[in-house]
Symmetry: C2
Subunit: 212 residues, 2 copies
Amino acid sequence: MPDNPQTQKEQPRRRQARGERRIAQLLEAAARVFCTTGYTAASTNAIAREAGVSPGTLYQFFPNKEAIAIELGDRLVHELRETYGEALAPVDPATPLEEAIGSTIDRFMAFNTEHPVFFALMHGPDIPGRMAETHDQLHATLIGRTEDLLTTLMPGATRADVTRTAHVCFGIYKSGLELVLAHEGTERAAYVQEIKNVMVRYLRPLVGDRLG
Amino acid sequence: MPDNPQTQKEQPRRRQARGERRIAQLLEAAARVFCTTGYTAASTNAIAREAGVSPGTLYQFFPNKEAIAIELGDRLVHELRETYGEALAPVDPATPLEEAIGSTIDRFMAFNTEHPVFFALMHGPDIPGRMAETHDQLHATLIGRTEDLLTTLMPGATRADVTRTAHVCFGIYKSGLELVLAHEGTERAAYVQEIKNVMVRYLRPLVGDRLG
DNA sequence: GACAAACACGAGAGATCGCTCGCGTTTCTC
DNA sequence: GAGAAACGCGAGCGATCTCTCGTGTTTGTC
């Protein structure tokens, strides 16, 4: 099956090394601008200026503003899945609850503090259309993994209970992330520990005497 | 000290009953539009259309778009302080922890579900300048009250510990509110109960054997 | 070195939005 | 009922933002 114009949209463009560099440069600039001003308030001219190029050059590589956020989001999601995909894998039932929750939170906190634009793009109320799809897809995946973990730990719970608990865990993490990103150094570390405490104390009665 | 033009900015405008009605009408319309699209994306023309008046009429009562959000926010904050001000008052030490937390969360949830625009205005990343002041002021007040409550319950903790705990409680409530607003009926009630569980289990070890 | 394609520029077209202004209507006051 | 002031309208001004286009430069291929 050769190139199908139906599915193979259009890519007669052969990028040069210079072009790839510009793309990376523009995405880094966009990440900085999105972080400080949010998606909607970020102007394409500002992104181009931040990258040190002209508006026309920006549109040589991205068809529109939304595509910049989408490409940035896709690359981040890809890195998240690649590097931290095993963070929600099934845990050894012998693992203490503190340790299981602690290492999971540490992994995700590390990613989010290293890429603060991820939170800005996924959490902002002004995300573009296809970006919302990517977000919903990732969200569903993470909720699903959490549900799987919780199902083995909450034998007596209904499906709705498990789903609700997973959403509450996710909410706890998100609010904790907001606090963590707002602080630095030892205070930040203290907030990470507090979020672990919240999660452990919330889940301990649900899982009964399992997991330590 | 008669009218001082320095502090008494300018109000030679004597509102008629019709005008007061229009203002209320416009604020209700603005609340609906802000709720669905957020502050920045909400156009003044859309607010006027939602209220069934012309753009010119809107600007007869509000000097600019920011003033609409500020007036709306001020009225909500005023109602919050009036009606729910005692929600964070000092509690009787004999009150069980579950009951103290439960009634407080119920009060605030009632207000927030009755005025969903409040969350949209206070939480959005695109709030206007003076709106942020109102928000920070209210936030500081609520955090301060929470700190006062926690101080009496955490005798051995440092000031920084108390502050951090108060922020964590606030974050738990906010993330819970987001979940509550996203659901209806019995599922909403179940989420309210879950948030109470999270809060109680988080605070129980901190307060020791006090409060039941 | 010649040709094509990718890259780069920046002025500005086109669209949107906040807000104004001139004028007509309703309400209040006497 | 007459004058003033508040209310109401909607076309459109000016600012801003996304995105285009004509032109010039750099890079890859033969």
